[in-house]
Amino acid sequence: MDEALLGSMLASTLRLATPLIFCALAGLFSERSGVVDIGLEGKMLFAAFAAGAAGAASGSTLLAMLAAIGIAVSLSWMHGLACVSHQGDQVVSGVAINIIASGLTVVLGIAWFAQGGQTPPVTAGVRIQPLFAQLTAGLAGVPWVGALLGEGLLGHNALVYLALALVPATWWLLFRTRFGLRLRAVGENPQMVDAAGVSVTRLRYTALTINGLLCGLAGSYLVLAQSASFSPNMTAGRGFMALAALIFGRWYPVGALWACLLFGFLDAAAIRLQGAHLPLVGEVPVQVIQALPYVLTVVLLAGFIGKAVAPQALGRPYTKER
């Protein structure tokens, strides 16, 4: 392998892993508090649409991101109304969010922009540009360093680094603060948290708010950094892949990060390995690599490579005893 290929593999792995990391962390907050989140996909999709629509209409990056976050948080709260305030089924509510998002974004897109569900591309000023563009350009000539450090690691926009920074931040918040302890406790044993005089409902809503915020960032990344406009169903299963990564990382932030990077790498490799011959194995069908994240997650869930243990109270609505 030459340095240019390694550098571009590294770069695209990070680029493809970023929305997965945002979403997996979003799912982590929700599921650690005991609320199943199947709706990651829908929230990310709707947030992407909001970012595209607001970005194209207002020409402001900030407004685009606020719109994305606002929409994703509202969807999270709707999930909370159905499943935290009332005893609705969390899986059904998540499925509803996904279906509504895939339909409503196209309906609104056609009505507002009349481009078959796409939003008009946002201008270059609205897009989020690479953070260290000059540094990357300066390093371009240096062998190895230019490709690996310059293009591979430093050539990204702020959201990529934000996603990476949020992983230790999430770990610290969950495992080193009082709030984190309570959040994890509410996912394991809500009765106990309630008995200690802490509101289960408020904790779960807080978790869902953070969840929506992160989904909003994931959606904005897709439209403002990866491609310049929203197109129907542009998330293409990434929300579910993030859910898989969360489980693959056993509901731990750092574990989820590694899983996201692995899935991002597989995604990047699938594009490059199209029709390529590998030593020993011969031609690997692209579909095998595409299916690998899901297969690995099922194998892990089945307990054949270690054991993934979900939070105890996951999926069970909590009813306060009277």
């Binding site: 199943v36 305030s85 089924d89 509803a96 339909g103 309906v107 129907p232 579909q287 997650t297 307990g303």
Partner: protein, 379 residues
């Protein structure tokens, strides 16, 4: 999933609540229609006429409904076993693959009366096999069936792409589909069947798998409420602990519920592959597995309700296509959105709506002049 409420009388829980939930979903959709500058009344008029106004439109409605009966029943059977099968999509893909494979292999030399039953069985078995892996993992390894069936949906669709692109596509063609089956593997359309007995009916994709769907609905009813096996399955679904104490093994019932569920979803291929396309292709399921969830929720997991809900959704899909054709700026995605609203309000939000409805009923009863309580006679 069900919306049992202590305060609602039984008739209200069974009839009024689903109607109110549907009405709320329709209102939300009408709100969006108005928001995007369309006239909800015009849309509804075109939709109803498109779905029920002509014999051809009604045939299309029933054709869509056929697929939804299969996937809706699949969700319902799993639900009665206490499981949420989100994998209808993947099981339907695999079922269609099974149906298509036997047709590709043997349709050239087997007569239709052997071929067609064989295709039904192959579809059901493939769907069953695909569902039984998550079932086994849930029953014996404790992995949650919701997550594993989601993963299996993705694995199924990539598997179908792989097989079509690399093996089943005839060499040198660009489109990703197999060769056409021989005539013996083609399920006759309803218009052809009616022509045999001299009735004239416009041509449509509606085919004899409609009968198969009807049989499946009756079969599911008889199995769940009229056999010992069905009783065991429902017992585990409503209380695994009590069922185990009564000598029913929950693990076994999980396998049974998912196997039947997968087999039902697997028969979607009979409608789409054998009945309409006559060849194996991509995207023949296109979300029907998820529509099945909405259908089962609306139909309250009962075969009669599911058939009615399927016809409703069939009408929405067919009528939606007509509206997309006639009204500028309207697309079929409006129907997808409405489907989402129905899942939200009939499913997740039923617990939000039920107390409000109970309150409204109680207020209404207080306002009405007091009569003798009709239930009092039963003691």
């Amino acid at each position: 999933m069900s919306a049992a409420s202590h305060t609602l009388p039984r008739w209200a829980d069974l009839l009024l609540l689903p109607v109110v939930c549907l009405a709320v979903a329709l209102l939300a959709a009408a709100g969006v229609v108005a928001l995007v500058g369309q006239n909800p009344v015009e849309v509804i008029t075109v939709l109803v006429h498109g779905a029920f106004g002509t014999a051809r439109g009604f045939s299309y409605t029933l054709y869509y409904a056929t697929t939804f009966v299969f996937t809706g029943l699949a969700v319902a059977v799993a639900f009665h076993g206490g499981l949420f099968n989100i994998g209808g999509e993947g099981q339907a893909i695999l079922g269609g693959l099974g149906t298509g494979l036997v047709a590709l292999w043997w349709s050239a030399f087997l007569p239709a009366w052997i071929m067609l039953p064989l295709m039904v069985v192959a579809g059901a078995l493939f769907g069953m096999a695909w569902a039984s892996v998550p079932a086994y993992l849930q029953a014996y390894r404790g992995s949650h069936v919701v997550i594993t069936t989601i993963m299996f949906n993705f694995i199924a669709s990539t598997l179908l792409v792989y097989l079509l692109v690399n093996h089943l596509r005839p060499a040198g063609t660009m489109s990703v589909e197999s060769v056409a089956f021989a005539d013996s593997a083609k399920l006759p359309g309803v218009h052809e069947a009616l022509a045999w007995i001299g009735v004239e009916w416009p041509a449509s994709p509606l085919n004899l798998s409609l009968v198969l769907a009807g049989l499946a609905a009756v079969g599911v009813y008889l199995f769940l409420w009229r056999t010992r096996g069905g009783y065991h399955l429902r017992a585990v679904g409503s209380s695994p602990g009590a069922a185990e104490y009564a000598g029913i093994r929950p693990q076994r019932q999980i396998m049974v519920a998912m196997a039947i569920s997968g087999a039902l979803a697997g028969m979607v291929g009979m409608n789409e592959i054998a009945g309409v396309h006559g060849k194996l292709l991509l995207e023949f399921v296109s979300g029907a597995g998820f529509t099945g969830i909405a259908v089962a929720l609306m139909g309250r997991n009962h075969p009669v309700g599911i058939v009615l809900a399927s016809i409703l959704f069939g009408a929405l899909f067919q009528g939606g296509a007509e509206v997309a054709f006639e009204v500028r700026g309207f697309s079929r995605d409006m129907v997808v959105m409405l489907q989402g609203f129905i899942v939200l309000f009939s499913g997740a939000m039923a617990y939000v709506i039920a107390p409000m409805l109970a309150w409204a009923l109680a207020t209404l009863q207080r306002l009405l002049p007091q009569r003798k309580q009709p239930g009092a006679a039963h003691g």
